[in-house]
Amino acid sequence: MTKSIDIPLQSYQLAKYAVQVPCYICGEGNAFDGEFCRHCFAPMALAHQANTQDVRPAMIATLGASGVGKTVYLGMLMDMLSRETDERRLQMLARGAFSINLQQITASALARCEFPDKTPNEPDRWNWVHCQVRDPKRKQPVELVMPDMAGEAIMEEIDHPFTYHGTRALLTKSAGVMVLVDGHKLQEGSLDQDHFTTKLLSYLRELDPHPRRGWPARPIAVVFTKADQCDNCFDDPSLFAERYASRLWQQCQQRFTSHRFFAAGVAGACAPRTQYDGTRVNVPLRIEPRGITEPFAWLVEQMKIG
């Protein structure tokens, strides 16, 4: 005896794979259930959010050499703006659980008087942030995407273009950039920071040299980090730049119409710690953020978005 049963034909679901979902960062096609873009390794959640919630977030890049403090700066910025309750000030709301990772990692480490681990070079392990920024000067909130990229990857892309597809795509599309420079090293006389940042700005200009739409007209916030260890940096960051990073200062004056210098510090004091393997690392002895939100607020104000 035969018995007829109904077997649902699910092969139609394969059709989903036939439709490519473009990555929000690089625009290349991906499968609908991919976690990361297979081309640039940006999280596909950005693309899904853009499609389902009908938002087209602007992008802000945070650049700087390795060890300059990008993760600490971004994580602290997010945490501070997320805690802000005064509606007359800038506020931030994370979109998506993945967007909270960065501030969680940073705040947990700093509360323990440690700096967070170094950001890995692999793009699929970077922390991406999609957030909504409420600016009292704007009627509508601003949607932003800000990745925390590894310094080595940025350097590699600058020295060898097209090495990191996602970095290049992000920088092409970014509405503004925060360039982080180690103020403490600059004051100690290190030339590397000055050279690297100058190289970075040259790269940006070559990426899109259009005088009105390109990088020469886009806002650039140059932030001297670790300013708590060079307190005079807070007095006049522009003068500090002219004095200790003359190449960078000159480049900004000549080639970028919308730029400003800032000073920022997170730790009140740092001390060297000898680890068990003999290596020495700096640890923060207390957390006292200064000048963290100002560069970001200026950048949001300057950006032609929203």
Partner: protein, 408 residues
């Protein structure tokens, strides 16, 4: 009360000229009609007031080096400080010491014997008004952050040393951090020139302890004086050595770490185990209305008498929040073995107006800094061992007060 002075003779001439012009204008308009006179007088008065205020604002915003007269002469200083009291007059000398806030010196056994009864009572009254009694007892000192929260490689090492029980003898602790006004007295009395107040090793460095106009004083002062309106703000921008020198000058000292923690956490020992200690001076839970921390205050330093709700059990203000406080102890952390080999760092306690995390503004959290650091948010308060005070029978009647050490 603030006493403003004209900054220079040139401005005085201008003020006189404008005042004269206003008078002449009034007389001229008096010939027209009564209403016009009243109106014109009012307008001229307003114009003068506007000009006068504009002058003050311009003075504050100017980048020029302000002259001494533009800074505030602390008006609350008694006359004894302003006049040249003869040094051979003991009464005048005592009055001057009271005016300078150096009553603790008068309470030394050697000095108290030579004071009159009225002067001795006044010294004791000053002590009780300005300092809080902290009874003797034991306190547990922990490390910068809770071992349970570590989750890192050195957690075990920290755990092994957590819970050190320290014995604290009775002491008096300043109810408030040292203010700009109090520190001004020290600067004005030539504290930076009295070498006996300073540790010998720092003597060459004292010349480097200058303000923004290269005058001796805290880092952020101008022309040897604090900024207008900051009389009662805690003094900041001073190194550990400056704090120590001031404490010596007023006859006190910096509190040790154990003393500071005991004053704040107010331990109670009910059995043989560790004493019960408060996490914050007011209790166990963070309450941002009770301390000037990040996100709870005006994001700047406030006068020392504010946040009264956050005072300790013993009546000490702002032990947590507003400014970090230097203590006499060194900064110690088991994992910071190579920390600045030549110069031991000094301990900081209490958190400041910009302290971000709650767990770094507790009674037992310890931070540290280089003893020559002059940070924008680090001040201090002074302590006085009870054994150093001959209380003349007027000391607080606590179990541990040095009642038996009275001087006739």
């Amino acid at each position: 009360m603030k006493r403003f002075q004209f900054p220079n003779p040139r401005r005085s001439v201008w003020v006189l000229a404008i005042t004269g012009a206003a008078s002449v204008g009034n007389l001229f308009l008096a010939g027209l009609s009564e209403n016009v006179v009243v109106l014109s007088g009012g307008l001229l008065g307003l114009a003068y007031a506007g000009w006068r205020f504009r002058g003050i604002r311009l003075t504050q915003r100017s980048d020029e080096k302000p002259c001494a007269a533009e800074t505030i002469i602390p008006a609350e200083l008694p006359k004894a400080l302003d006049t040249e009291a003869p040094l051979d007059d003991p009464n005048a000398l005592v009055d001057r010491m009271f005016a300078q806030g150096r009553y603790a010196l008068l309470l030394r056994r050697q000095l108290l014997e030579s004071l009159s009864a009225e002067q001795a009572a006044r010294a004791v009254e000053a002590l009780q008004k300005n300092m809080a009694m902290v009874p003797s007892g034991e306190v547990v000192l922990t490390h910068p952050f809770d071992a349970a929260d570590l989750g890192s490689d050195h957690a075990e090492e920290v755990r092994a040393t957590v819970g050190k029980l320290m014995r604290v003898e009775p002491l008096y602790l300043d109810r408030y951090p040292v203010t700009n006004q109090q520190y001004f007295r020290f600067v004005e009395a030539g504290g930076y020139q009295q070498m006996s107040l300073w540790d010998p090793e720092i003597l060459p460095g004292v010349l480097d302890f200058v303000d923004q106009t290269q005058q001796p004083g805290p880092r952020h002062w101008i022309d040897g004086c604090f900024r207008r309106g900051e009389n009662n703000h805690p003094v900041v921008g001073i190194s550990w050595y400056e704090a120590t020198a001031f404490a010596r000058w007023v006859g006190k000292r910096l509190p040790t770490d154990a003393e500071w923690v005991k004053s704040a956490s107010w331990p109670v020992r009910l059995s043989d185990g560790d004493p019960i200690q408060r996490r914050y001076p007011w209790g166990e839970a963070i309450d941002r209305d009770k301390a000037n921390l990040w996100g709870s205050g005006p994001e700047s330093i406030v006068p020392v008498e504010q946040f009264a709700d956050g005072m300790s059990v013993g009546g000490v203000y702002q032990l947590v929040g507003n400014v970090w406080e230097w203590t006499a102890g060194g900064y110690q952390h088991p994992s910071l073995r190579d920390l600045s080999a030549n110069v031991p760092w000094k301990s900081l306690r209490g958190g400041a107006f910009d302290t971000y995390f709650d767990n770094q503004a507790t009674c037992d959290f310890q931070s540290g800094d280089h003893p020559m650091a002059r940070c924008h948010n680090v001040g201090f308060r002074c302590a006085l061992g009870a054994v150093d005070v001959a209380t003349c029978g007027a000391a607080p009647s606590t179990e541990t007060s040095p009642a038996g050490e009275q001087v006739a």
